[in-house]
């Protein structure tokens, strides 16, 4: 009875008793969710266009952020470094297409998945070799990112919002709108959607798959760079970010592998669910449940919708 009380009643009493804490937790969940969604967005872009489950997205985030900070450390002005990093991500996309995807075309999914593991190893090695393995501080000031916090009164308490978090949310929204417009309006965007629908049909109307893949990997690289800057500004730029990127996986399955809105809604659900769960139910289980709660939330959703919330319905034929 006590246990039932602690599980079903007590957390809600706490929520009602201190609404400012609830709002604070919700906000933190929202911010974490935005960042998860950004990482998931990179996965979805590549999965839609080439059917590759790109495990290297996490390390691409780290690599992009490291390149930016590393270049700035070597004396390059911040915005030039930003431009150069974007160029590096384009070079990476080009190399990946030429050296990895093209020779492996038409192989089973799991082989391509494995190849992105190889890419992950390579990028970890390269990143550490060139920029060193120590955590670095993101150049938030030089990029004119805001810092500090806004505090306001709410229901008898204080809620504090980090300005960088607000900036992250805004930039993420802009990015999603820009990508959506790009997909809907431009010629390349339409080609991308055609490729996502069917490789063969796209080829037969004269769309170059190779070109599309470079563009998609480049877009994923730019998303990775944005994620890296935001996440790096909140904490630091280090290889442990790569582990965080595994959190994008439950976001993906929740939203469906092929859906951009899914990635965003999934990210928000996971982020908020995780923080609320940790804050109100975590102490019951001895805390630290954040590490697996996200996966369980996703699992529960999956049992009811095996293709994710927004995924295309899986039709099986003999």
């Amino acid at each position: 009875m006590n246990l039932l009380y602690a599980i079903f009643i007590d957390p809600f009493v706490q929520m009602g008793g201190a609404p400012d804490l609830l709002v604070q937790t919700l906000w933190e969940g929202l911010v974490a969710g935005v960042l998860y969604a950004l990482i998931a967005l990179g996965f979805v872009l590549i999965f839609k266009a080439s059917g590759v489950f790109n495990f290297a997205q996490g390390i691409m985030v780290v690599f992009a952020a490291l390149t930016l900070v590393g270049l700035h450390e070597k004396g390059v002005p911040a915005f030039l470094a930003l431009a150069m990093t974007i160029a590096v991500m384009y070079g990476l996309a080009f190399a990946v297409e030429r050296l990895m995807l093209r020779p492996l075309v038409n192989q089973p999914d799991i082989i391509l998945f494995m190849a992105t593991f190889g890419l992950t190893y390579f990028l970890i090695g390269l990143g550490e070799l060139v920029f060193g393995g120590n955590p670095k501080v993101m150049i938030a000031d030089a990029l004119f990112l805001p810092k500090g916090a806004i505090e306001f009164k709410f229901a008898g308490g204080f809620v504090s919002l980090q300005k960088i978090d607000i900036a992250a949310a805004v930039i993420a929204s802009i990015m999603v709108v820009a990508l959506a417009t790009f997909f809907q309006v431009t010629r390349i965007g339409r080609a991308l959607r055609a490729v996502a629908d069917s490789h063969k049909a796209a080829l037969s109307v004269g769309i170059s798959l190779e070109q599309i893949w470079v563009i998609v990997w480049f877009a994923a690289g730019v998303v990775a760079l944005t994620t890296g800057i935001m996440w790096g500004a909140r904490s630091e730029v280090s290889f442990s970010l790569q582990i965080v990127s595994l959190k994008a996986l439950p976001v993906l399955i929740l939203g469906g592998f092929t859906s951009i809105p899914g990635a965003i809604v999934g990210g928000l659900i996971i982020g908020i669910g995780e923080k609320i769960g940790e804050f109100y139910w975590g102490p019951l289980l001895g805390s630290g449940i954040e590490s697996w709660l996200a996966y369980f939330i996703a699992l529960v959703f999956l049992l009811f919708r095996p293709q994710g919330l927004f995924g295309e319905k899986i039709i099986e034929r003999i």
Binding site: F53, L99, M100, P103, L104, Q107, P108, D109, I110, I111, F113, M114, A115, F117, G118, L119, T120, Y121, F122, L123, I124, G125, L126, E128, L129, G133, I243, L246, L249, P250, L252, I253, F257, L285, G286, G288, I289, S291, W292, Y295, F296, A298, L299, L302, L303, P306, Q307, G308, I314, E316, I318
Partner: protein, 358 residues
């Protein structure tokens, strides 16, 4: 010339269906086994035994476990590390609860616990498929990881939170603990791995194995020909986790000597998945090849770069190794996407028709 089956006639169904129908294969296998059981312990140095052979066999066993699930049944799993951990912790609980019980019995029984846990986490597999299932097994991995850290009962309320392997003997010879010689450990592991590989080979060539493969090739079709999907998938999870559990127990008791929960993290799961894919999906011998390549390659590279006599700092060697391994994985996949076991098969076929290839 030497490798040819001409003149070997099959006179019974049993002979026709044998796993090694060619006499030269049987002789080759016997030579390999004799070399492994007698030659290696006599010839190899303690260092090679302890650092190369012991881990290699343990990884091969874990790879066989994952191969049964991923390669034969087609269910992608990223929870291998967690299941290995269950085996290791179960073995620790068993051997401390019953100190007189034979350690080999403990290790083999601990796999049963792992297989029960594996079957529970296999439950979503009927509804969820493909990469979606991989993420579902990730939840097993992270949940088990959390359990290993948060439940002190698992390590008998040890302050360090790590498994400290007690000394156990077999026929009066120390098998675990600091005094166990590499030769003894190697032989015990080799015996267990050989036995379990033999069991797996028989299992996979029989009715059970065929139903696994039918599910892998197309599960709806398998259901139509009367294979019960749920039972088959759960059985695959159970058998696979049994192998992973035993491998985990061996890893802690006969290799590390003591282990923190971090050993069974997500990295371990990925490493074993590499071995299975590089080795060959759906091949037992491929599991051994994969383990040898993925575990052996970094060691070889590290020693190779060191032997070149270049003045490179150790950290740089580490990074170069990582880059080379990454590059080689992609290269291997491009050369032969079906894995090393396929290369092995092609080689044998070439040898069979040599010197008159057609």
């Amino acid at each position: 010339m030497l490798y040819r089956e001409a003149g070997q006639f099959k006179e019974s169904y049993a002979a026709d269906m044998a796993i090694f129908p060619i006499r030269q294969d049987r002789i080759g296998l016997a030579i390999i086994l004799v070399a492994a059981f007698v030659g290696v312990p006599l010839a190899a140095s303690d260092f090679v035994l302890a650092v190369v052979m012991v881990p290699l066999l343990i990884f091969a066993l874990a790879a066989i476990g994952l191969n049964i699930l991923t390669g034969y049944t087609g269910l992608l799993s990223l929870g291998t590390g967690g299941f290995m951990g269950v085996g290791a912790f179960a073995c620790y609980k068993l051997t401390t609860a019953f100190p007189d019980l034979n350690i080999v019995v403990c290790i083999l029984t601990s796999g049963v616990v792992a297989s029960a846990v594996g079957a529970v986490f296999g439950l979503p597999s009927l509804r969820i498929k493909g990469f979606y299932l991989a993420v579902a097994t990730l939840s097993a991995q992270f949940f088990l990881d959390w359990c290993f850290v948060r439940i002190p009962w698992l390590v008998n309320h040890n302050v360090s939170g790590a498994i400290e392997v007690p000394i156990r003997t077999l026929f009066g010879v120390a098998v675990t603990g600091p005094n166990a010689s590499p030769q003894v450990r190697y032989l015990v592991i080799l015996a267990i791995v050989t036995f379990l590989t033999w069991i797996a080979s028989n299992l996979l060539h029989g009715r059970v194995g065929r139903s696994f493969m039918a599910v892998r090739d197309m599960d709806i079709a398998a259901e139509l020909i009367g294979i019960k999907l749920y039972q088959t998938k759960l059985l695959a999870f159970a058998v696979s986790s049994y192998y992973c559990g035993v491998a985990g127990a061996l890893m802690v008791f006969l290799w590390y000597g003591s282990a923190e929960p971090a050993v069974f993290g997500i990295d371990q799961s990925f490493l074993i998945l590499f071995m299975v894919i590089i080795g060959c999906l759906g091949s037992l011998v491929g599991s051994f090849f994969g383990a040898a390549l993925i575990y052996g390659l970094p060691i070889a590279l590290r020693n190779g770069l060191g032997a070149l006599g270049l003045q490179i700092p150790a950290a740089t060697v580490e990074h170069l190794t990582l880059m080379t391994v990454g590059g080689l994985i992609v290269l291997f996949l491009i050369i032969e996407p079906h894995g090393l076991a396929r290369l092995w098969q092609i080689g044998k076929q070439k040898l069979r028709v040599w010197p008159f290839p057609y």
